[in-house]
């Protein structure tokens, strides 16, 4: 075999490995978001028992990361926890769902970054929290965004050639989102 053929085979093997690694990362992050949806229980989201989402919002107020953000949680989020609880539950459940199947992955990676920042700014200073976990969470979503991870063994990879040929506006939005 000549050198160029070796190089091509190496590139193909490397590309396949990269794709598998990205798919594992995407599905792994999805499962973590899915798990995160399990302990957000409506309708009171732990207010009566002093646990769940209510507990963590209370921790964010007691151990502020940024004073203005903590004030926002205290004056806006906590009094309306039922509404924001549903919003959080649905956002995190959707993050798990869409990252699992690899659909509109870049958009959901952006949502994941926003949600990670919201969580980090809430509980980074809470007792017994490991700050690395939040930094790793943020970095993992940046990788999903930057590599468009849904194109590797995800539905984005299968749908994009069809969306590309479509003249529909929705298809062009999905092209950007994937």
């Amino acid at each position: 075999m000549d050198t160029s053929l070796h190089t091509s085979l190496d590139a193909a093997q490397s590309s396949r490995l990269n794709g598998i690694a990205l798919a594992v990362l995407r599905v792994g992050i999805a499962v973590l978001w899915i798990q995160n949806a399990s302990w957000k229980v409506p309708p009171d989201f732990g207010r009566e028992a002093g646990k769940g989402l209510f507990f963590w919002v209370s921790q964010a107020i007691e151990y502020p990361v940024l004073p203005f953000y903590s004030g926002f949680l205290e004056s806006v989020i906590l009094p309306n926890l039922a509404v924001f609880g549903y919003l959080t539950l649905l956002t995190e459940a959707a993050l798990g769902a869409f990252l699992l199947i690899g659909l509109a992955t870049r958009f959901w990676a952006l949502v994941g970054i926003a949600q990670t920042l919201a969580i980090t700014l809430s509980v980074l200073n809470a007792p017994n929290e490991w700050h690395w976990s939040y930094y790793l969470m943020l970095l993992a979503h940046i990788v999903l965004l930057g590599t468009a991870a849904g194109r590797s063994y995800g539905l984005d990879g299968i749908f994009r050639p069809i969306w590309r040929q479509s003249s529909a506006r929705f298809a062009s939005i999905l092209m950007r989102a994937s």
């Binding site: 899915i34 798990q35 699992l100 299968i158």
Partner: protein, 125 residues
């Protein structure tokens, strides 16, 4: 090419659904490994709809894949409505809803995109 990719995607989503039933076994090992709450009636729903999707992908029956997707979506909505209620028909929680929602959205979108692709290939008659 597109059609075979769609059938394969349906098949893989079905396999993922059936494989997720493994989380029924993690109930006793604590929160660390019990990542998705698959319990009670939700085990049967996920397994049966997953097998439907596998059949749809293997036998190239897109409508069956759509049916499996709709079953997942209806059950995800049902689970959402019953979260925190005393009566929980599927026995799941938010994680069950998220899993079923993802599988449902995936299977229905495969059917929708596959259909749109077929129509654009056939063109106007």
């Amino acid at each position: 090419m597109n059609a075979s990719n769609m059938h394969r995607a349906t098949l893989v989503l079905g396999i993922v659904a059936v494989a997720s039933c493994v989380f029924a076994l993690t109930a006793g090992v604590g929160e660390t490994f019990d990542l998705i709450h698959v319990r009670g009636a939700s085990i049967a729903v996920i397994a049966v709809a997953g097998l439907l999707a596998i059949l749809a992908g293997a036998r190239k029956l897109p409508v069956l894949g759509l049916l499996a997707g709709l079953v997942f979506l209806v059950c995800a909505v049902l689970q959402l409505v019953q979260l925190g209620q005393a009566f929980n028909l599927l026995g799941g929680d938010g994680s069950t809803m998220s899993l079923m929602g993802g599988l449902g959205i995936g299977l229905v979108s495969v059917w929708l995109v596959g259909r749109a692709s077929t129509q654009s290939t056939e063109g106007p008659r």
